[in-house]
């Protein structure tokens, strides 16, 4: 057996010509198979990108809503900022003032304005705590306290300050959905009249609504009742009397 085996191991056969070329051709086609996992990988990548995109869009929409809220607040705070500047101007132009009647009126308006400002500043103090804002608020307070003492205000700036609450009110009015006025149509009215007519023409007993109830009910139906010394009469009994 060993001799057979050694013979077998020594045996070799020559491969036909062009065998390697065919094998090489086959091997060159093999990379096509390797593309499959790549496609799968691309699918996963696409899914991940899609999810990120979706998340991004949702996040952006949420942010937009928040930003809108912030912008409303920011517009308010900007108006506030404009106030101290105007007040400063008034301080600088103290000597220009002349009309005493206007001064009194203006001082009243200013008080009103200051109240508004206080309410707003409280709001800002709660919401925003940037040092810059705080400074502006302090300036406001100082300026508004000084003004009634000095009784000196410029007319020009007043409308700006006073108009603010009015604007806000108007704005809020628009936002409220208006209730629609309901009008009764002619056909509905006529139909109602018809029902009333039917009710008056046909007695209740004929319609068979109240007859059964009256017969069956064991509940006492007195014409008058005494409660705490006061007698109460039934409506019909009074009219008959």
């Amino acid at each position: 057996m060993q001799s057979l085996k050694s013979k077998y191991e020594q045996q070799e056969m020559k491969v036909s010509e062009g065998f390697w070329d065919r094998l090489e051709e086959k091997l060159d086609q093999s990379p096509a198979k390797k593309e499959k996992p790549n496609i799968i990988w691309l699918r996963y990548a696409a899914a991940v990108i899609f999810l990120f995109g979706l998340g991004g869009i949702l996040w952006m929409t949420n942010n937009k809503a928040e930003v809108n809220g912030d912008q409303q607040f920011a517009s308010q705070s900007e108006n506030e900022k404009s106030i101290p500047a105007s007040v400063k101007k008034s301080e600088n132009a103290e000597a220009v003032k002349s009309n005493p009647i206007n001064l009194i009126l203006d001082s009243d308006n200013q008080k009103f304005a200051v109240k508004n400002e206080d309410s707003l500043t409280r709001f800002t103090l709660n919401e925003v705590e940037t040092p810059r804002m705080k400074n502006s608020i302090r300036k406001e307070k100082l300026a508004s306290n000084q003004i009634p003492e000095k009784e000196l205000i410029i007319k020009k700036e007043e409308p700006q300050i006073v108009s603010k609450p009015e604007e806000q009110l108007a704005h809020t009015d628009i936002q409220k959905p208006r209730e629609k006025v309901k009008y009764v149509s002619s056909s509905d009215l006529l139909f109602g009249v018809e029902i009333d007519k039917a009710k008056t023409e046909t007695p209740k007993s004929a319609m068979g609504i109240n007859t059964l109830k009256k017969n069956d009910s064991d509940f006492p139906n007195p014409k008058r009742i005494k409660l705490f010394g006061i007698t109460l009469y039934e409506k019909d009994s009074i009219t008959t009397k």
Partner: protein
């Protein structure tokens, strides 16, 4: 030689075409004869060899050591050859119970002849005998392994091997007789 193989093998792992070609040139002759010993048809053996080399080069990552590459490649060739034979030729195994006595008788029979043309033997030998004989003698497989590879019982494997040996003995005797007859005639 070993260093060469190591170098070529490492290059072939990186899908180097030249290294693959040199590996092919190294082993194609031997592997073709192995495949042919099972299939007995040069063209079919070449087809099987082509697929085996293709498998080996595309899955060369599975073969970790360069020293085991020849055996690994041979295993692929043998497996492919067997599957080819099983697909294309209906192999019938006579399910006879094996007795050790018969095997002992046949053990040293084939030692008699030294001048055997293996190619003719493989051509003449029945397919059922040949598969078991090849696996048992040349691939040095145990009967249990052969039974698993060929999907037959271990007893069948043993009986097929003993029958193959008997067939071989008869074949040699026949050849010797014809030789003697020829000599006497001269």
């Amino acid at each position: 030689m070993k260093q060469d193989l190591q170098h070529i093998f490492s290059k072939a792992k990186k899908n180097d075409r030249l290294a693959q070609k040199s590996l092919f040139e190294m082993f194609s002759g031997k592997m073709l004869s192995v495949a042919n010993s099972y299939i007995n048809n040069r063209d079919d053996a070449e087809d099987v060899l082509m697929n085996a080399f293709y498998k080996a080069f595309t899955k060369i990552e599975d073969c970790k050591n360069y020293e085991s590459f020849p055996f690994w490649l041979r295993k692929i060739v043998v497996n492919d050859a067997i599957t080819f034979v099983r697909k294309n030729k209906h192999v019938l195994y006579a399910e006879t119970e094996f007795t050790d006595a018969i095997a002992d008788q046949r053990e040293d029979v084939s030692e008699l002849s030294q001048d055997i043309d293996l190619e003719i033997v493989f051509k003449e030998m029945p397919v059922g005998y040949k598969l078991v004989f090849n696996l048992a003698v040349f691939e040095e497989k145990k009967h249990q392994e052969i039974a698993e590879i060929l999907n037959i019982s271990e007893g069948t494997s043993k009986s097929q091997l003993s029958k193959a040996k008997k067939w071989l003995q008869d074949y040699f005797n026949q050849q010797q007789n014809t030789k003697q007859n020829a000599e006497s005639e001269i």
